[in-house]
Symmetry: C2
Subunit: 877 residues, 2 copies
């Protein structure tokens, strides 16, 4: 069957998102619902894929299909491309399956040329509007299709305003715009060497290709990577008859949400600009009115819109984000989609929808984005500290949460300070643009001088869960001097400020922040999630403090307690170093004996904090040289402390040097060289458990002792024997009937290949997907930075395999290990304690392969609980 | 069915090697053939395994079975353990499935005690013999069972000889030996705190346990690792009635080979000592007679032995290594086994057997040990250089080949000098013992002052293929002063000497050596091998010189040509460094343009050398920092050369530093960052091929371009596109119809998991099993030394996975990749270019999984040809 590459809005529907993109499918759906939608057609995502397969060419088949639909559209509208009497003008907009706000490019007013604009001016009897539209078109087309930056044109506008002595664009008249259009075309020719195209068909194909190309611009690639969107999807192109919000004072354009996207309040919420085109609202160049303005000035249209919003929300069972235009008093819907919202709003909306009977609890769980909860789990201001603080100004509360950091003024600086200096930064900009996105990811918070709640900065920050205050109009930024003035204070680069993204208040000082806890809607959702969830959620915690935080977040055990972190404390590292420089087993045992009571009391603290929940403790993992000093001064000091010669100590350090420490003498390999390390650690674990069990007879402690870096069953057997011998002797002496388990990390590719053999000895597996990813890909996380950027830029990798489990490669090994492990030991306990344990898409995979639990940082426990619930629900569909 | 743990010699046969060990099975077989074998029984290898399973205890079941067979033996021989009138005396000897010469322990004369020895002295009318036997027994038992070193007893003998003013043991009389026995028992009590056991049953069980234990002594573990013998096999124990070669001048003991083990000459060959026990011959303490002495002095026994030897050779279809004893004129066979032999002898024997009609060509192929060919492929003396050389002495030509190196006097020094200093060493010892084995492996050649052709040094050296001269009686070694005197010359540690292991000549200077070539028997065998072989054998070669050597050895192509080695040459590294420090693509291209003609001419040379055989060239692999200098002086020099600031250069070097270079920015990752590198290399390869193809129209060159370190198909696709674009443009311009292939290394675990996807783009796979092993095991070869020794010592690993492919882990990945690769592209070309390509056991695996070729160092090509033939023959059995 011949492929169909173009659909009229009347031919599609809301379920065709894959083919038509979100925008196209929803335009079709709204058309079907009888809503006022300007006519048009959608070129499918498959056409985009075909375009790339053909070597970035629109082939003849697709071209002729588009031509056919142009004719159709001319028939329906009764207008004609390039017709002087009744010209067809269209917008060309991208629309992919997943919403990618601000990432793709749009062209409005396409179809205008010298002749058309003149007649259009006459026909509308509004030359100012016609020439304004024309110069906008030239500007957008130049930027999007020919890559001639907007700034060239903005400079011309500024020069014009100066010449005319006016302040706002709106003060320019028809002749000014006409003159601007002329100057723009001149600029176009200067920059491209070609005349600006006057044939609307040529303009249209230029625009379509530009949309296709924009799918692979660096911002789009970056956004996809950050949001797990595959590059293979492609984008659709929507060609739609223009309606004009800039046709005078009975016209306007707006963006609205069916509920408040910041709080979730069940009230229509939006922004509106009179006599403007859509981009003016989104770009945040002018600060818009609220919808109340519309209500007052045009209650009929407001009423109509309000009904549409309510219908759409019920229809889609989700909060809607809509674009509309009023052309000379008549309402047109240009877009609807499920709206981005803050985490708090998302929770409130989900809970309210259930209360309203619109959806079930299960559906409420499924409509949430687990990663977004992050925002609620981030620090808030310390209640005491904030009492004394006086804000120096305020803006719009665009994305909630508290942030505190050092001021930087460019996205590059944000990246540089945060990545290279490890600084916490607040990015302060007049307004943000898609180019700033990487810097925004690095910032603790974002503060802008312009733009509303739907400005680029606000939308992106909410998506990221980053605190943001937008539209702080008092803010005077001097980017060159790297300073800003607010509330009479001059704040320079590097100075500390604090933001409250929930209130919009800005503080000119560092304010202490505190951790969040679960309550209200979040707590409700978590309880619902726990009903559906089949995997347990544990935490990775090395200290009682972390363990307590995790318990507050609902952790059901510790999946990974790293014992080495305890040895880095200054009071302990001395004994650790003594152990390392020991020349005989006796010396080593003496040093280990000093570590034993410290280690035992660590474990006691952790058992106490975990209140009887299971705790998996991993034996010492890193290579020993990590504990030794590196620079001359420290070495001399240590030698003195250890009472050995500096030269001797240097010799030891030298002998422990490794070419590839990641693949060196670590994990169970240490125990095979020095069995007494495992003896000490097993002693500490078992004695601690006995002590706590005696104190809390109501708990049933079953210590889980985990052996790292196992690649062969004989390694495991050797270390296990030591543990069992040690543990059994202590337990027998204690008179308590303590059970314990011995298991292994699965983090070496070979372990997955022989997991059946390993399961003979291991009572549990815990997948260490960080190391497993490193070894399966053959690159070290510490070194990959040098080349992964090129991989992303060239579309070789779409996302970071250390954040999102590589199901195609690493996942195969995990699956193999699970199957082989269960084959040998059907009741084997299976968990994962790599960083993927807190990543929703990875959690879905772990559910599919049948793990018993995921373990993640305390901070991510609620995210994992929600993601696990979604995974369980999906697996039953 | 109840397991049978003990077999009388009459109950077993030659096919029961697994159960009875080699020695036991052959004693049974000889008994069945009616040969004169002293009676006895064999305790099975399963009893040994059971002993370890029971926690190093002989359980009651086995114990009672042994007691039963002792009674049987007493019945057969009419002698009784501990009986004063007619005592049963036995030898206890180990015997595993594979021959492990000198590795396991033996006890003779067991059953003697104070009472028995006295009556034995009377009964044999030879008190000297009786007490000599007794003190030998005490000495061996103390050493083997109680770990009281021989040296304590040797010191007592030396004191006795001094006291008596005699030089040789044989000059000591009965009373001296009686006194020695008393002193020995005193020493035993001193060292062990216990009385020497007088109960023969207690002695016997002590000895059996000692044999079992010796299976896991460090020497045995080391030998097994070096010879690929699994530790699970266990050893059998042979208990055999004693016969005495030390019963006076009509007695004696000898070791003989059915053919000459050094040359393969078809003539009985052996050594014989009058009035001695077997250990005297093997230990090399006294220099023995040849068999001619026996022929002259006892022609009847010689004749009988000669017939037996001939019968056994025909029976086993292999050259036999036999131990025999003559007790008062009567011949007894104590052992027969397939004899160890030099590589040259092995070839000659195989060819002669075929000529004699004893075996087929196929059987000839199967009876050879491919690794052994190594000895023939090692350097010989340069014909010119040797002409002028005058030997300073000579010894027995114990293991052939030429060696040249610096003198060391201990095995530890040999290891230290060779491993840590990279020196070529000759190990000079009075005699060697099993403790020396590691040092012997490190030496180019071995020279001993004592011992014959069957001494420890000689046997082990032949097994290793290492040049050895033994029994150089003029050699005066002063181990403390680290020097020796020979032919009037004093040679100190570190001085250069040369050995000719084929003639026994010793030279006091360094003599140039040359590579070997294929001729004579080796050539014959290679031709036979090629008939049976189904896999091709290629070579890893980076230079025309290596390529030529490989062609001489029969290589059928290059499987791996590493392009980076070419860049390390002093004239080239400058351009390479220029490329690395380039700041722009233009600078990089300029530097690459300088490298292009050099690289092209390298490839031309290699194509010429390979005479039209296929050549696989791998793109640049190592991380760039490997090409930059490391120390201050070199950095300053380079900065000057490059005309950049030292600080800037240091900055570049610093920025290229990697934590884990093995898993860093290398392989195809370099090309993804700097595509112009692949452009240059593809240009050089294709241009070189075109030039050579034009010169040799009779050849059909098809360049194989190989991309390293691929883990994802998109990496491969990206690099392949660059190559194809570059190559096609050059080919089109050339007017020649050159075909070429683009393929990939498979060396990242992930590549194996997604080999089907990769095969969509790759026309061939070449398994890089070195890196694949590193990443699958998760340890770096450079760092593993720090812990692998402990792994071997604790029986966790039995052999080095870098020498012998880990079939259980890495092999699974290889198999998976082969299957998935073929699924996608049935005619995909499959090869292996890791070091395992020259390892016979790995080659057998590669045959099984269906590779098209193996590639190894030039040096190992004949070994691989033979191993591939054996693998093909086995796969058809």
């Amino acid at each position: 069957m011949k492929k169909k590459y173009v659909y009229l809005f009347t031919e599609g529907n809301g379920s065709m998102r894959e083919l038509l993109g979100g925008k196209g499918a929803n335009l079709a759906e709204m058309t079907n619902l009888g809503m006022p939608v300007p006519q048009g057609f959608t070129i499918t995502t498959e056409a985009c894929t075909q375009y790339y397969n053909d070597g970035e060419i629109i082939n003849d088949e697709i071209k002729s299909e588009i031509m056919h639909y142009i004719a159709e559209m001319e028939k329906i509208t009764g207008k004609k491309f390039g017709d002087i009497d009744n010209p067809l003008l269209v917008s060309v907009r991208s629309g992919s399956r997943a919403s990618m706000p601000g990432m793709m490019d749009t062209i409005l007013n396409l179809g205008l040329n010298e002749q058309v604009v003149e007649s259009f001016a006459k026909k509308t009897n509004n030359p100012r509007f016609a020439y304004d539209s024309y110069r906008r078109f030239i500007q957008m087309y130049s930027d999007v299709v020919m890559d001639v930056g907007k700034s060239y044109f903005e400079k011309l506008i500024d020069e014009m305003k100066e010449k005319k002595g006016v302040k706002h664009d709106t003060e320019l008249d028809a002749d000014d715009h006409k003159e601007l259009a002329r100057l723009f075309k001149e600029e176009y020719k200067n920059k491209t060497g070609k005349d600006f195209p006057s044939d609307p068909i040529e303009q249209l194909f230029g625009a379509i290709k530009a949309v296709f190309r924009s799918w692979n611009n660096p911002r789009a690639i970056y956004y996809r990577r950050m949001n797990d969107i595959p590059s293979s999807w492609g984008t659709a192109v929507n060609v739609q008859e223009m309606v004009f919000g800039n046709m005078g004072d009975s016209s306007g354009t707006g963006v609205a949400f069916s509920r408040n996207p910041a709080t979730g309040e069940a009230k229509l919420y939006g922004e509106f600009l009179m006599n403007a085109q859509g981009e003016d609202v989104v770009a945040g160049v002018r600060t818009p009115h609220t919808l109340d303005y519309l209500k007052e000035n045009n209650p009929a249209v407001y009423e109509q819109f309000s009904n549409i919003a309510s219908t759409l929300e019920k229809h889609y069972k989700d909060m809607q984000d809509m674009e509309f235009t009023i052309e000379q008093g008549k309402l047109y819907m240009l877009q609807t989609r499920n709206g981005k919202r803050t985490a708090a709003a998302a929770l409130k909306i989900a809970c309210d929808f259930v209360k309203e009977g619109l959806i079930t609890e299960k559906e409420a769980i499924m409509m949430l984005e687990p990663k977004q909860l992050d925002a609620l789990l981030h620090p808030q201001f310390d209640a005491e500290a904030i009492k004394a603080a006086e804000p120096i100004g305020s803006g719009l509360p665009a994305s909630p949460g508290a942030a505190c950091g050092q001021v930087v003024f460019t996205a590059d600086d944000a990246k540089e300070w945060s990545v290279n200096k490890g600084a916490r930064v607040i990015l302060v900009r007049l307004e943000t643009s898609p180019e700033d996105i990487e810097g925004m990811y690095c910032a603790e918070g974002i503060l802008t001088g312009r733009g509303g709640m739907t400005s680029h900065a606000a939308v992106v920050a909410r998506g990221m869960g980053t605190c943001c205050i937008s539209g702080c109009s008092e803010l005077k930024i001097n980017e060159e001097a790297k300073e800003f003035i607010l509330g009479g204070r001059t704040i320079k680069e590097g100075d500390w400020i604090s933001l409250d993204g929930s209130t919009g208040k800005i503080y000119g000082e560092a304010i202490k922040t505190v951790e969040a806890s679960l309550s209200g809607d979040l707590n409700t959702i978590m309880k619902w999630a726990d009903q559906f969830r089949t995997m347990n959620v544990r935490t990775n915690a090395d200290t009682p403090k972390d363990a307590e935080q995790a318990i507050r977040f609902g952790a059901e055990g510790i999946g990974l307690c790293r014992t080495e972190h305890m040895f880095f404390e200054p009071t302990r590292i001395i004994a650790m170093r003594e152990m390392i420089v020991s020349k005989t087993e006796e010396q080593r045992r003496a040093a280990l004996n000093k570590l034993l009571p410290m280690q035992r009391s660590d474990f006691e603290g952790i058992y106490e904090a975990m209140q009887g929940y299971p705790v998996t403790i991993r034996l010492l993992d890193p290579p020993l040289h990590e504990f030794l000093p590196k620079d001359e001064k420290d070495i001399i000091e240590l030698a003195k402390e250890m009472k050995i010669e500096v030269a001797e100590l240097k010799g030891i350090i030298h002998s422990l040097h490794e070419f590839n420490p990641m693949m060196g003498h670590r994990g169970c390999r240490l125990v095979i060289s020095y069995p007494e390390i495992a003896e000490m650690q097993a002693t500490a674990i078992i004695e601690a458990a006995i002590n706590i069990q005696k104190k809390h007879p109501e708990w049933n402690l079953v210590p889980e002792i985990m052996i790292p870096l196992v690649g062969d069953v004989r390694e495991l057997k050797y270390v296990k024997n030591i543990i069992v011998k040690t543990a059994d002797a202590i337990i027998e002496k204690s008179g308590i009937n303590l059970k314990y388990m011995v298991g292994t990390m699965i983090e070496i590719p070979r372990a997955c290949l022989i997991a059946d053999e390993i399961a003979k000895e291991a009572e549990f597996f815990s997948f260490g997907t960080n190391d497993l990813t490193q070894m399966t890909f053959g690159f070290s996380r510490d070194d990959a930075g040098a080349f992964l950027d090129a991989y992303y830029a060239k579309n070789i990798y779409e996302n970071d395999p250390f954040s999102r489990l590589d199901q195609n490669g690493v996942g195969k090994l995990v699956k193999m290990a699970v199957e082989r492990g269960k084959e040998e030991r059907p009741n084997i306990k299976l968990g994962i304690c790599g960083e993927h344990g807190g990543d929703p898409s990875s959690i879905e995979f772990f559910q599919k392969v049948g793990l018993n639990y995921v373990s993640c940082s305390p901070f991510r426990v609620p995210i994992a609980r929600l993601a696990a619930a979604q995974a369980a629900i999906k697996s039953n569909i």
